[in-house]
């Protein structure tokens, strides 16, 4: 689903290197690395918002450099670490904005669009929030809504930038569990960055970590915490 080919991620200077890597549908990958190492930049590059210094990324066999924003919006959906809520905007309408790439000229939702939105809401288990305003609910609930919106966008790939950063412990577990299930049941390729190393390891999630010395992105499925901490953070 996502293929990296000699990719150098960064702005003018490369921050991190990915030689060859393939990320598949049906799986969730957790991106771990020290601050400033390029996690957010990597996600931006996958989203198509940031050009590569060199090399290629392929999304569903298409090079990101050849895709315009419309095409990208059909392939990748993004969830940021915090959603503050927007005045006067109901949860249902917010999630429905995820259908933007598919709606007509005036943004009118078709029956199919409504189906997708409802599905996303159901999957995330947030039926009870549907009619509330995005400003009236808790941070945790808002994150779930953000994920629902990404789901409603019906993309094969979903990227999330530290989606659990502002959540309490219970919600963190809940969100990560949900994402893992999502990836499998809906055959999505989900990439998220996180600092919740303990939870991720406990859940046996595949890890992509940025090596401290080589700045290489390395994929590993089974690793122990101490090795990870050593390679990533040097402790």
């Amino acid at each position: 689903m996502i293929r990296f080919n000699k990719a150098q991620i960064g702005y003018q200077q490369p921050l991190l290197f990915i030689d060859q890597m393939e990320l598949n549908a049906g799986h969730i990958y957790v991106l771990i690395g020290a601050n400033g190492k390029g996690k957010t930049t990597l996600l931006k590059s996958i989203n198509g918002l940031q050009d590569l210094v060199s090399g290629e990324i392929e999304l569903d066999k298409k090079l990101t450099s050849t895709l315009n924003h419309r095409d990208l919006s059909n392939l990748v959906a993004f969830v940021s670490s915090k959603f503050d809520g927007i005045e006067h905007l109901k949860v249902y309408d917010y999630i429905a904005l995820g259908r933007t790439p598919y709606t007509n000229l005036f943004g009118r939702l078709s029956a199919q669009d409504h189906v997708q939105v409802s599905r996303a809401i159901k999957t995330l288990g947030i039926d009870y929030l549907s009619d509330k305003l995005t400003t009236e609910i808790s941070d945790g609930e808002r994150q779930l809504c953000a994920i629902a919106r990404a789901l409603a966008q019906e993309t094969p790939i979903i990227t999330l930038d530290e989606p659990t950063a502002f959540l309490d412990y219970a919600n963190r577990v809940k969100v990560l569990t949900m994402l893992k299930t999502l990836a499998f049941e809906h055959q999505k390729c989900i990439v998220l960055s996180s600092h919740d190393i303990d939870i991720c390891l406990e859940m046996n999630l595949p890890v992509l970590y940025i090596d401290l010395t080589s700045n290489q992105l390395i994929q590993t499925n089974k690793t122990c915490k101490s090795t990870l901490l050593q390679n990533c953070f040097g402790i």
Binding site: I86, L89, D93, L97, L105, F106, Q153
Partner: protein
Amino acid sequence: MPVAAYLHLSIGQIQLSSADFYNALFNYNDSETGQLLVREFRFPRLVMAIVAGSSLAIAGMLMQTLFNNPLAGPYVLGINSGASLAVALGTLSGISFFSSNFGLIGLALIGALVFGFIVLGFSLFVRNSLSLLLVGIMIGSFTSAITSLLQTISSADSLKVFTIWGMGSLQQVELSQLGIITLFFIIGLFLSFFLIKPLNALVLGENASLLLGIPVKNLRVIIIIITALLAGLVTAFCGPIAFVGLAIPNLCKMLFKTQQHLVLLLGNILLGALFLISCDILVQGLEPFILVPINVITSIVGAPFVIFIILKRLA
């Protein structure tokens, strides 16, 4: 209901006239004093109020969504300052042609266009909309300073013409000009409808909109063009009219409690027109007692309202 509101208000204007021998003569166009007054005075004034009120409200809405800022108004890009500067240059040069009706309109249009292009140019180089907002404000300050300078070196007569222009007026427009005005108004309106979907997404922020497939840079350009067109149009024919563009979009959001821009657009068109018509009815009503420029009324009503918005947001 909107239709009824419109009709009611337009008739209301005629009935508020100081003399009493005018029938409802909308359809006849002979040259009897009463009918003359309706045709040459009341009707252009009414149309202008509708066009100006709606245009400014729409432009204000566009600005507020683009910059995600409830205090942005149609003049925030500095386009209006351009029109002011052009008018200042013309009137204060002492050449009488520039102080004529035709001259003032031409000057303001040119000024708005030129500055519209300048802002457009900046928008292509600027990284995000916040930067553009700042650029617009700086342009505004700069041109204001130059205009002030011009004012200090001008004669008393020229100064008076310029000052009066700055107070705004719905009555300078002539019957023959209504055609063009309406045409451009409809174009601006029409284009705005196509922006509904992108605007809806834009409330999520520029990056999120990009990721939803919205071409944000192009969107910015079109918004600027429409705003320049509508705000420039109004400023050219009426001078700068205060507060409509700032207060009405906020009012719409508060009244209709939605971010759905179809509703907001229609709301702004309607409420903008209604507001300005009402203000002008006040101006007409006060006529026998005191002659008040339209800006005075819009500000007296608008300013407390803006303060109210700010306070409410802080609460």
